[in-house]
């Protein structure tokens, strides 16, 4: 257990809105080990970003973590005071967001934004911070770092901004990197570059990565372990090979089947009917039941639990459970 870098237990995050309290993340438990890339996939609105924000307690004002523990090397982030959590942010856990262009402050030079972190956490002087920043820019593969330092964000391309974001995240040597859809806004050729860079950095710095994405292709190419999320719940967790070879949850199955694959597309693509339910109108029972072609009566009444169904493998489905592939651990 001790090798778990991040251990999240029964995380529940709620939003207070004018439509009442919405539970965006419910009973989410997972862990990330050192030197491991864990993928979190799911459709839009399934609660991926909220999960990542919850970890660092960066939720918007109306959001609140109502249950659960977030353990970073055994320390519970949820119980820390504001000062302590600030000292974790950016230094132990770094995070990069989906849209790199809007994640940089448009009125500050790139260099200044890069230096901020080391000056704050490592108490670097201006000169040290500058040198370090230049170093970081080089490491993410941007030529002429001095020039980049003096630029403003709008003078960077999308790929460059994302690399700056990565440089920024890596600059205090974090133990855990949370990447929330780091490549979604990028073109495929640029995405390939950034993915390559992230793999490389993970190897070199021996960090744990929580990679959030909706692109199963990216997951397949990057991750060691994968969690599938639906309606704020983790419905399946497995290592990447088992997941793609043998998806257990009907949702995972449907998801993988609906991805178009070059060279292997049949005439009619399979898809999952219906839509992701709104948080304020979640069905009782299994949240996927209304879209599930295999659903039985029980699915509509009782919500299944996430249980181990094999070595390092969890699933949240009555059908899977009933098939007796139930491995208590």
């Amino acid at each position: 257990m001790t090798d778990k870098l991040l251990d999240v237990k029964n995380l529940k995050t709620e939003f207070h809105t004018d439509k009442g309290n919405l539970t965006a993340v419910n009973d989410v438990s997972f862990y990330v080990n050192n030197e491991e890339i864990v993928g979190l996939v799911g459709e839009s609105g399934s609660g991926k970003s909220v999960t990542s924000l919850s970890l660092l307690r960066l939720l918007p004002e109306n959001g609140e973590i109502s249950e659960g523990e977030i353990l970073l090397e055994g320390r519970n982030l949820r119980e820390m005071n504001k000062k302590e959590i600030r000292s974790i942010r950016g230094s132990d856990i770094a995070i990069i967001f989906q849209d790199p262009m809007s994640s940089l402050n448009p009125v500050l030079r790139v260099g200044e934004q890069l230096m901020e972190c080391t000056k704050l956490h490592l108490k670097y002087t201006n000169d040290q911070a500058r040198k370090h920043a230049i170093d970081m820019i080089k490491r993410v593969g941007i030529p002429v770092p001095e020039d980049i330092m003096n630029r403003y964000p709008h003078q960077l391309s999308g790929g460059m901004s994302q690399r700056i974001m990565i440089a920024m995240a890596m600059s205090c040597n974090p133990k855990l990197l949370i990447a929330d859809e780091p490549t979604t806004a990028l073109d495929v050729t640029i995405q390939a570059q950034v993915m390559e860079l992230m793999l490389e950095l993970k190897e070199k710095n021996k960090i744990g990565v929580l990679l959030i994405t909706h692109d199963l292709g990216v997951v397949a190419e990057m991750c060691d372990r994968v969690m599938v999320m639906y309606c704020g719940r983790i419905v399946e967790m497995a290592d990447v090979n088992s997941l793609f070879k043998n998806p257990l949850h009907p949702y995972t199955k449907g998801l993988i089947a609906s991805v178009p694959k070059i060279g292997r597309n049949s005439d009619v693509l399979p898809y999952i009917s219906g839509r992701v339910p709104d948080l304020s109108q979640l069905p009782t029972g299994c949240k996927f039941a209304p879209r599930c072609s295999l659903a039985i009566d029980k699915c509509h009444i009782e919500e299944p639990k996430l249980i181990y169904v094999g070595e390092n493998r969890q699933c949240r489905c009555h059908l899977v459970n009933e098939r007796g592939e139930n491995h208590e651990q």
């Binding site: 004018d18 839009s44 609105g45 989906q98 849209d99 979604t184 806004a185 339910p277 709104d278």
Partner: protein, 287 residues
């Protein structure tokens, strides 16, 4: 690419959604209630006294049980005059702002939609109008055409035109870029239909908000004109004129200055708070 989030599945008409949000804004709702109250005053004119009934025995009375707001230099009931003044002040503001809004919106939509020379022409004229700062323009216009209610209305509406033109233009410009406009164009929708069916409704939120806010400005402008001696005649007891007369009695009969001032203040405040509430609800980006 933007993050996409699924929205409410409940069928809720835009109006219901609007009122649900709006009713949450307490200050705006209270303001609206106050303005409705004023409207009732305007319609029913429940004046306790004849507003021109002169009573030389009761000149400049302090507020008392007979005259809740006191009397003025002719012994006329201030409360009654304020109630009557509501109608005049509000009509001046409404008429002036409406004229300004209509002309301004038409110009703004044309400028924003067609662009080019027409736009330059319209916007440069607005610059010129704008370069006579604020009230000065109204003063200038009244100086030319003379004081009096109608002229005050004209002046204030002219002075409101460039504001509306700019707001509507910028609103049009941003709506013009929206995909659904292009979608309609690609269908072959005519310019007129595009302007009135698609673009104009889109500018409505900012139009409504600035209309509300301008009401406040118009009331204050009219009062300021009166104060500077360019206003309406005191026979029509609009608030500005009452205020302007009242200031000569500042030490003797402060109520003559206080109540009309309070009335202006409350009304303008109500318009502004209502505007705020509308903006928060309709959420257009105002410049």
């Amino acid at each position: 690419m933007k993050e996409i989030q699924y929205e409410d599945f409940k069928i809720e008409s835009p109006f219901r959604e609007f009122s649900r949000k709006f009713l949450k804004k307490k200050s705006a709702v209270i303001s609206l209630a106050f303005l409705v109250f004023l409207l009732i005053l305007v319609v029913f004119q429940p004046t306790p006294y004849d507003i021109s009934a002169i009573d030389y025995d009761n000149i400049l009375c302090e507020p008392n049980s007979d005259h809740l707001f006191g009397t003025d230099e002719y012994g006329r009931d201030v409360l009654s005059r304020i109630i009557t003044g509501t109608r005049i002040s509000l009509s001046v503001a409404i008429i002036a702002v409406t004229i300004g809004a209509i002309i301004g919106s038409i110009l703004g939509i044309i400028a924003g939609y067609y662009g080019g020379l027409l736009e330059s022409l319209i916007m440069r004229s607005c610059d010129v109008l704008f370069s006579f700062p604020g009230l000065l323009l109204a003063i200038g216009i009244v100086a030319i055409i003379g004081p009096g209610l109608t002229n005050v209305v004209i002046a204030i509406s002219i002075y409101g035109i460039p504001t509306f033109t700019r707001i509507i233009r910028s609103s049009t410009l941003s709506i013009k870029e929206l995909l659904y406009i292009e979608a309609s164009k690609s269908i072959g929708v005519s310019d007129m239909r595009l302007l009135f069916k698609h673009i104009f409704p889109g500018t409505l939120p900012s139009l409504i908000v600035s209309y509300t806010m301008r009401m406040g400005t118009a009331i204050i402008s009219a009062a300021s004109l009166s104060f500077l001696g360019f206003g309406a005649s005191p026979k029509n007891p609009d608030w500005g004129a009452m205020l302007s007369t009242g200031r000569d009695y500042i030490g003797v009969a402060p109520h003559m200055l206080f109540y009309p001032g309070l009335m202006i203040f409350l009304t303008v405040l109500a318009f502004n708070l209502l505007g705020d509430g509308l903006r928060d609800t309709l959420d257009p980006k105002l410049d």
